[in-house]
């Protein structure tokens, strides 16, 4: 084989080699892309399952919370009213009997209101602002601490799932404040900026060290729940200086 023939073979083989290399490259790219798509689908399915699980848990917890509240209401409010009614109706005085009948009307109203809360459908009719207002009023009515709500109405439009999660997270934050912080004041501020809307929960209670492991898991759960609805959870606290929680949700 003379050198000229060699060069021809080199040219032909190099061309074929480059063509083959490029074909392999393109096929490999499509293969990797397909694999990535499959992985992404799997990840999305996993995320969807996790989201559904979170929503189910949240619904269950809200049910439990509602039942506890109903129990408390039956014992502290309706039970008391029924005792008063019994006393009044047993009295021979006509004015006491009238008062007893008035108590009966009040009991009927209270029971109706209470029965509504047993069904989670009430969540659809109530706005987040109204829910927070009710919760704060309840806290204040017990004389536990002063509360205030300041809202620009930026959370009035929410999907049912987002509302459920936010309600649960806010309930949890308020419960934690009452249980552990003994604050004199709880302030909730709802506002928005160009990219997101924020709920800020501020108390002037005992505060804590967020780096401690005992408090970490609760925060982690709240953070994860916010993430399932595409939101963020921030917490800052210091012993003796209260706690500041921010719940952020993009538009």
């Amino acid at each position: 084989m003379n050198p000229a023939d060699n060069q021809i073979y080199i040219i032909i083989f190099s061309t074929l080699f480059l063509g083959g290399l490029m074909s392999t490259f393109v096929v490999a790219m499509v293969f990797i892309h397909r694999q990535r798509q499959a992985q992404n689908r799997q990840k999305m399915d996993q995320m969807r399952a996790e989201f559904e699980k979170t929503i189910r848990n949240v619904e269950h917890e809200i049910h439990q919370e509602t039942l506890t509240q109903v129990g408390r209401e039956l014992h502290d409010n309706i039970g008391q009213l029924l005792s008063l009614t019994k006393l009044n109706l047993n009295s021979p005085k006509p004015e006491k009997q009238t008062e007893g009948r008035e108590y009966l009307d009040k009991i009927i109203k209270e029971v109706r209101a209470l029965s509504k809360t047993l069904n989670l459908d009430w969540l659809e009719s109530v706005s987040l602002d109204d829910f927070i207002r009710q919760q704060l009023e309840k806290i204040q009515s017990t004389g536990f601490c002063q509360t205030a709500l300041e809202s620009d109405g930026s959370y009035l439009e929410l999907s049912k799932d987002q509302k459920l999660v936010l309600i649960r997270v806010i309930q949890e934050c308020l419960n934690n404040a009452i249980k552990h912080a003994q604050p004199d004041r709880i302030d909730i501020r709802i506002a928005k900026n160009n990219q997101s809307r924020r709920i800020e929960i501020q108390d002037d209670g005992a505060g804590f060290d967020p780096s401690k492991a005992s408090t970490g898991s609760g925060m982690f759960n709240l953070k994860k729940r916010m993430e399932t609805i595409g939101g963020k959870f921030y917490l800052t606290s210091e012993v003796g200086k209260g706690t500041h929680i921010t719940l952020e949700l993009p538009f």
Binding site: I12, L18, M22, F25, M29, H33
Partner: protein, 238 residues
């Protein structure tokens, strides 16, 4: 004054030049039927630009050759520079990341500057067989194709699309194949033409047919939005 030899020009016209001219006319016709919004699509505009430029320079090259004048400058200017830049821009239009788009801009400037320096220093001549410029633009073109494929396998925007139905994928693949398969032929152009004319004519078929395939695909890219509108059928997504 030398007389224009049209007979030889027409004699030299073969399926290749005629097909390219047909693609360019079909592309222009298809483009005229597109809506204003569809015409604004960068990929469609550049595809049409490539079809027209390639058809024009092949006809000019054949015409100049038919006048017994060395026509290498036509290919050096239009094929290695104008068409190459249009291909760079087409690949840039497929990229999503701004940094990658910037990289392509840098590669274009780098290519033009290198070419200018090589010409000004006399290292290459405008009428030579253009091995160095072809080598340079092929290497840079392969880098641009690489950028597209990197985006394809890393960006989340591509996760929802089927690459086999994407114009950008097929165009990038066609460009990749065209430049990589023509690479060895362009850089060995002078050697083959001087020493092995028979083999030169044989291997020249590779870039010729790749150009036809590439232009056919670009033409389809122009017609794809039309077919989608008229027949509710999307062959490839532009």
């Amino acid at each position: 004054m030398k007389e224009v030899n049209l007979d030889l020009f027409f004699d030299r016209l073969n399926y290749y030049q005629l097909s390219l001219a047909a693609f360019a006319i079909a592309g222009l016709f298809g483009y005229s039927l597109l809506s204003t919004a569809q015409r604004k699509n960068e990929a469609v505009r550049l595809s049409l630009g490539i079809l027209v430029v390639v058809a024009c320079y092949e006809l000019i090259g054949t015409f100049v050759g038919a006048q017994q004048i060395v026509n290498n400058w036509v290919y050096n200017l239009f094929n290695s520079h104008v068409a190459a830049i249009l291909f760079f821009l087409l690949l840039r239009s497929f990229l999503k990341r701004k940094s990658h788009k910037k990289m392509v801009n840098i590669l274009i400037v780098l290519f033009l500057l290198t070419s200018l320096v090589l010409h000004l220093t006399g290292f290459v001549h405008y009428n030579d067989s253009g091995e160095y410029i072809s080598f340079l633009n092929t290497v840079l073109m392969l880098c641009c194709c690489g950028l597209y494929f990197i985006e394809l396998i890393t960006l989340d925007e591509f996760l929802d699309v089927d690459p086999l139905r994407e114009f950008s994928f097929w165009a990038s693949t066609a460009i990749l194949f065209y430049f990589s398969s023509s690479f060895m032929i362009y850089i060995s152009h002078k050697y083959l033409y001087t020493h092995h004319l028979d083999i030169y004519y044989m291997v020249r078929e590779i870039p010729t047919n790749m150009t036809l395939l590439c232009n056919l695909l670009l033409c389809m890219g122009i017609y794809s939005p039309l077919i989608k509108d008229r027949f509710k059928l999307e062959i490839i997504h532009v």
